[in-house]
């Protein structure tokens, strides 16, 4: 194909560059300073699909969910001023979870910049701490390469969001445009041979090896390797919240999420391990508890592409900075086959104990609809391709504990920032990106924040089953108030009269309310068969707790596995 330069406007260049970079779907909301962009989107609607949300925040979460489900860069477009500031929470969510995203905003013409013009905001200044990088484009000649570089930065090394702010006059200006190839990530560092050698030595001596994986390992195609390493070393695998779904839930070596609401077995194995191999994980406070008491018996090897993560939260013995897959393979190929029967026996004991705690809890459960039952039914009915999205709170931690995943990129949830209101937008993005049935697990608190996006789900007839775990309270905060604030329930009892079933009806979609597991099963089956959005208002008890729990600042020694009767 012969390349030839064409004269185009800035707006045309934006759309052509997006298409050139392989973008097929963008999320957004029009406005005064992106009118020209939207005019070009209209003309190019056979080549690029725009999804109109109800609010720019929903669009930003949709772009994020799209990226999580597909591995592609999520793209969001908004106008200047409030359009741009409405993206902020979505961009920050993507930043904290290292999700590749490109946000494009319009701004007032350069002649009006800095004059507090109508709908003017310095969005590059606002988003500086929550983007990997951002641009304010003042010259149309630099526009195409700036957008290409934005994509390159978004996908390189540790992914993240990049924002490109384009004043209106730059969108109108003209220059030559020439197509280019989709960008490749920047070359990554390779870990030092000496460090690899030290890591291999430590691993070969390990008697109680524990592999701890995070978001960096999920969706990198590393699952097979990590499972093979666990077998080779007689090791167990635990994960951070962001590492969920990286390894199939039924794998015998997987102990599940560790940390504040993690599995008993993974937290215990993490404590008793003599070697922790951290892969693409940042040892966040929610996963480690008090770092002064964290894994005192263990040597720690950390594999990460981000050099600033080595030693940031936990002092490690060997840091392997560089491409994760490459560092991993270099280690894998050199370590010896280990047999650690005593370790296996110990961890299997933890698993057994965990199962006993769970069985006991189930026996004693008096609630009409125990949360775990909801997940048992979802796990049974959903298939391997079903995407699970969540909001933030108790329902999210129950999802982390109980939802079963068969393959990576089937999970969208705000881990680092903990964004209530993330779920519905993310579910829409993930559904559109994957083309697969999506289940949104949410709570009445989180759902109330951005439920306007039901309009979007209805407009695009997205097959999303929204399960509202409705307890009438802000359950997670209330749980802390129960445990640490003498049951003073300050502003966590909602007492709202919102009828989610009528609400769904008003948005133009079917819904039903259920109060028992049997009702939930029947409703969920109907919902999964329905071609389009469906809402289930699942009433649960307000005194259901997320357990176990490591108290904030505590360690696994302080683990709470049981809460005495309420009332």
């Amino acid at each position: 194909m012969k390349k030839e330069a064409k004269i185009m406007t800035g707006s045309q260049i934006v759309i052509e560059t997006l298409i050139e970079q392989g973008v097929t779907d963008v999320f957004g909301y029009p406005g005064g300073q992106v009118l020209n962009l939207y005019d070009e989107l209209y003309k190019a609607s056979d080549r690029i699909n725009h999804i109109l949300t109800a609010h720019e925040q929903g669009a930003s979460h949709a772009a994020d969910g799209y990226a999580r489900a597909t591995g592609k860069v999520g793209v969001v477009i908004a106008t200047s001023g409030p359009g741009a500031t409405n993206l902020v929470t979505g961009i920050a969510t993507a930043m904290l979870d290292s999700i590749p995203m490109v946000a494009i905003t319009g701004n007032v013409p350069t002649s009006l910049i800095g004059r507090d013009s109508f709908q003017e905001i310095n969005i590059t200044g606002v988003t500086m701490p929550i983007t990997k990088h951002n641009y304010f484009v003042t010259d149309v000649n630099e526009l195409a390469d700036t957008i290409r570089e934005a994509f390159r930065i978004a996908i390189s090394g540790r992914p993240g969001p990049v924002l490109v702010d384009i004043p209106k006059d730059v969108q109108l200006a003209e220059c030559e445009f020439e197509l280019a190839a989709p960008v490749e990530p920047f070359a990554e560092n390779e870990a030092d041979d000496a460090d690899i050698e030290r890591a291999v030595e430590l691993i070969n001596q390990a008697k109680r090896p524990y592999i701890y994986i995070g978001g960096g390992a999920a969706g990198q195609g590393m699952a097979m390797g990590i499972m093979a390493l666990a077998e080779k070393l007689d090791a167990y695998i635990g994960c951070s919240f962001m590492g969920l779904s990286a390894i199939p839930s039924d794998h015998p070596r997987l102990l599940g999420m560790q940390g504040m609401h993690g599995h008993f077995a993974s937290s215990m194995a993490n404590k008793e391990a003599d070697l922790i191999i951290g892969i693409g994980v940042r040892f966040s406070d929610r996963a480690t508890g008090n770092t002064a008491k964290y894994a005192k018996r263990a040597k720690i090897i950390q594999l990460d592409t981000d050099l600033a993560e080595i030693n940031k939260n936990v002092k490690v013995d060997v840091g392997l900075i560089g491409n994760l897959v490459s560092s991993f393979n270099r280690i894998y190929n050199r370590v010896e086959k280990l047999e650690n029967p005593e370790w296996v026996k110990m961890v299997e004991g933890f698993k057994k104990h965990e199962a006993e705690i769970a069985a006991e809890a189930e026996r004693r459960a008096k609630a009409k609809m125990p949360p775990k039952k909801i997940f048992d039914i979802i796990n049974e009915i959903k298939d391997a391709s079903t995407v699970i999205a969540t909001d933030v709170g108790q329902h999210q931690m129950w999802t982390a504990q109980y939802a079963r995943f068969e393959r990576p990129r089937r999970f969208a949830s705000s881990g680092g920032l903990g964004t209530m209101g993330y779920g519905l937008g993310a579910a829409i993005g993930a559904q559109i990106g994957s083309g697969d049935k999506t289940v949104l697990i949410t709570g009445d608190g989180s759902f109330g924040m951005n439920l306007n996006e039901l309009a979007t789900a209805v407009s695009y007839n997205c097959p999303i089953v929204t399960v509202v775990m409705n307890n009438g309270v802000l359950g997670m905060v209330r749980q802390w108030q129960t445990l640490f604030f003498g049951k003073r329930y300050s502003n966590t009892v909602l007492q709202r009269k919102t009828d989610f079933v009528k609400l769904a009806d008003a948005f133009g979609m079917p819904a039903e309310r259920v109060e028992t597991p049997e009702e939930f099963r029947a409703a969920f089956e109907r919902a999964m068969k329905h071609d389009g959005p469906y809402l289930i208002d699942a009433i649960i008890d307000k005194d259901e707790f997320v357990l176990p729990m490591l108290p904030p600042g505590g360690s696994v020694d302080d683990i709470i596995t049981d809460v005495k009767e309420e009332k």
Partner: protein, 163 residues
């Protein structure tokens, strides 16, 4: 522990805000920051002095390296680098002070750059410790106001930072 860190940056929109914003959001307390063009106008050089332990220094260096417009970051070791700072200091000019200021300026190889009946202004260049010492000498004489540039530093010999 005091560290001097040299940073090569591209002369691009907002780069100084990115660097200073990083200090704020990561909670780094820096002592001084200077910035100026290099022989190549596409690049500027920033010199940062920082008081903090090894953890703080390493985090600052590693976080700086992640910024897109930053080309190189180097910790300058005291033995293999040299540093200078410039100060302008204005001291009350009285008959009793005058000769003492002049004498101190000569010993410190400083220059009197402004002289009125009310005040004398002196320009001092040197390592921060020398500047501090000069301030101590001037204090009893009545400092009116002063201004320091912050530290600039280079590696000794043929060692250079790659752009």
């Amino acid at each position: 522990m005091r560290s001097v860190i040299a940073v090569y940056v591209e002369n691009k929109y907002g780069v100084l805000a990115r660097v200073s914003g990083l200090f704020m959001r990561r909670g780094f307390n820096i002592d001084s920051l200077t910035v100026g063009e290099t022989d190549d106008p596409r690049f500027s050089r920033i010199t940062i002095t920082l008081n903090g332990d090894e953890y703080v220094r390493d985090q600052l260096v590693n976080q700086l390296k992640k910024l897109h417009n930053i080309k190189q970051v180097k910790v300058l070791e005291p033995g293999t680098s040299f540093e200078r700072e410039l100060m302008l200091i204005k001291v009350r000019n009285t008959p009793a002070n005058r000769s003492e200021i002049m004498a101190a300026a000569e010993i410190y190889r400083a220059k009197v750059v402004d002289y009125t009946t009310e005040a004398m202004s002196v320009e001092v260049t040197g390592e921060p410790s020398k500047i501090n010492a000069f301030i101590e000498v001037m204090k009893p004489l009545g400092i009116v106001e002063m201004c320091r540039t912050g530290v600039v530093a280079l590696q000794r010999g043929g060692n250079i930072m790659e752009k």
